[in-house]
């Protein structure tokens, strides 16, 4: 396998995809949204409980999708726990930029840094961004998003 491909399917990614964190429904969710990727049939449901000042208390996702989508959702859930909505929004756009731009100066500790390699595969970028777009949709109080 080439280096490029190993970059995408690196150890962290495969581990998250095999055992996703925060997987499942959330009783008492205040916000939920579904996201689809019509290209491959990936589907992500994001559940949140947000308190009145907009902080994310709990998060979970139900993802049927490829390794990239699954691990992106898993890492996202890890990262946004306890953020307020402004911070979550900011993170969304940071991640989005990282996954779609050419720049390489992303801090090493940054969530999804390990998914950077996906940029070499334009058709797969949407797999990584879908959970984040669905998160945005959920935070806005909407229920459906698609990647096309």
């Amino acid at each position: 396998m080439t280096k490029e491909l190993m970059q995408v399917y690196q150890k962290t990614v495969l581990e998250h995809s095999r055992k996703p964190h925060h997987f499942g429904k959330l009783v008492n969710a205040t916000h939920s949204a579904e996201g689809f990727n019509p290209l491959c049939g990936d589907k992500v449901t994001v559940h949140l409980t947000m308190n009145s000042n907009g902080t994310i208390n709990e998060v979970s996702h139900e993802t049927t999708g490829c390794a990239i989508c699954m691990s992106s959702a898993s890492m996202m859930a890890d990262a946004i726990q306890a953020l307020d909505s402004a911070a979550a929004n900011a993170l969304c756009s940071q991640v989005h930029t990282m996954l779609t731009s050419d720049s390489n100066d992303n801090p090493p500790g940054m969530p999804l840094k390990s998914l950077e390699g996906v940029r070499a595969y334009p058709s797969r970028v949407k797999c990584a961004t879908l959970p984040w777009q669905t998160l945005l949709t959920a935070m806005m109080g909407e229920t459906l998003t698609t990647t096309e």
């Binding site: 689809f36 290209l39 058709s123 459906l144 698609t146």
Partner: protein, 408 residues
């Protein structure tokens, strides 16, 4: 008019079809309003695509599918820029002007009821009449017809009187294929906006001949065909204002236009895909993109200026022929000249001209109401493109003189 800015000889050299002899004569192709010809750049873009990049679009993860999707969506962006639409979400690929108009009639038709009115004009092509007549038959809408005058111009005062509370759409050609008339579309749109009426422009004959800016015109819908603007057959465009398209009922159903389907529930795709059912005309859209590159390489303004020069040349030359009457003498005209002789039928003219290598169209040009208005069964029509030259016009005039001698 060979100038460093517009070198007609080198342009002609790029059109392989023009290099042939017909009936032992140089080909003077003057039937461009029916369908234009293609430069090598367009023909090669299509072949190269098939040779190197073809796969179905949007649904594949492999390289060819990517390249095909990028090329196809790249063509959409070229079209957006060409007509200055706000977003590619406003650019729907269809099979041609006719399908674009039918899409609209079918979709808007689902929101209309008996008694609702659609205004068209007397100078429309059948493609902008029949879809509305079908709606009239199916659901009882009423078609009102804006009149034209003896020059073949729309009578704006009369058009203004046709609006009523029940008027849902004004559907009108930007340029008439039978008469050459260029309608004052921005004024017409302004008129309609005052009445809160949507406007569709049939741009089939306008788009090949000058810069079209849908935002400047401010129309709601704009339809055109690739094959009349140096692109492949089999593809066309419906431009539609996004805010309208967003809420329009669907036309056809199939792959591409849905996200998820069960027998209970369907989730439809985003714009513009919701209106593009099935595998699209991929190679043709890419060829249309190449045609746009080619036209812009020359410059739409230069094309318009050169064609206007040809029109004046041809109009003067034809007016010299005894008994020839030009049908369509609007102040603003595209390079289309319809003409008749009282004593020679257009069809006979066509044959005699063809014999001398001159290709014109004869008949009703899919515009029967225009023919009825002028009281002729049909006309002979010479329609010019930027790859025509003064020699084509000389050849036309010479051939006409032969025909006149023969039939008189």
């Amino acid at each position: 008019m060979n100038s460093p800015l517009f070198n007609i000889d080198s342009i002609r050299a790029e059109f392989p079809i023009l290099q042939q002899q017909v009936n032992g004569h140089r080909l003077a192709f003057l039937d461009n309003a029916a369908s234009s010809q293609r430069p090598d750049a367009v023909i090669d873009a299509v072949s190269d695509y098939y040779r190197n990049d073809h796969a179905n679009v949007h649904r594949g993860v492999h390289h060819l599918s990517h390249r095909a999707t990028d090329a196809y969506e790249g063509a959409r962006e070229k079209i957006r820029a060409f007509i200055n639409a706000r977003s590619i979400r406003e650019i729907v690929f269809t099979s041609g002007t006719t399908e674009s108009i039918n899409l609209l009639a079918n979709s808007l038709g689902q929101t209309m009821q008996a008694g609702d009115e659609v205004i068209v004009s007397r100078m429309e092509h059948h493609s902008n009449i029949i879809p509305w007549k079908l709606l009239a038959e199916r659901i009882g809408i009423v078609i009102k017809v804006a009149p034209i005058n003896e020059q073949g111009e729309l009578v704006l005062d009369e058009l203004a009187k046709l609006f009523s509370k029940k008027t849902k759409l004004l559907a009108i050609s930007h340029v008439s294929n039978a008469l050459g008339t260029i309608n004052p579309v921005a004024d017409i749109v302004a008129l309609a906006k005052q009445q809160d009426v949507l406007v569709l422009l049939d741009g089939a004959q306008a788009i090949p001949h000058g810069k079209v800016d849908v935002q400047a015109i401010d129309c709601d819908f704009y339809a055109f065909s690739s094959h009349k603007m140096c692109g492949p057959t089999g593809v066309g465009v419906l431009y539609a204002r996004e805010s309208l398209l967003e809420n329009m009922p669907l036309f056809m159903g199939g792959g591409e236009m849905v996200i998820a389907v069960s027998f209970e529930k369907t989730i439809y795709n985003d714009l513009p895909y919701r209106f593009e059912a099935g595998t699209p005309p991929i190679a043709q859209a890419i060829g249309l993109g190449a045609a746009i590159d080619y036209l812009e390489g020359i410059g739409m303004d230069k094309i318009a200026a050169y064609e206007h020069h040809l029109l004046e040349l041809a109009t003067t030359a034809l007016s010299d022929i005894e008994g020839l009457r030009i049908i369509g003498t609007a102040a603003k005209k595209a390079a289309v000249i319809s003409f008749v002789f009282d004593d020679i039928h257009p069809h006979d003219l066509g044959t005699v001209l063809d014999h001398q290598g001159v290709a014109i169209r004869t008949g009703h040009h899919c515009a029967n109401p225009v023919m009825d208005f002028f009281g002729v069964p049909g006309t002979a029509r010479a329609s010019l493109a930027f790859y025509n030259d003064a020699e084509d016009i000389e050849q036309l005039v010479k051939a006409l003189r032969v025909a006149v001698d023969m039939f008189r």
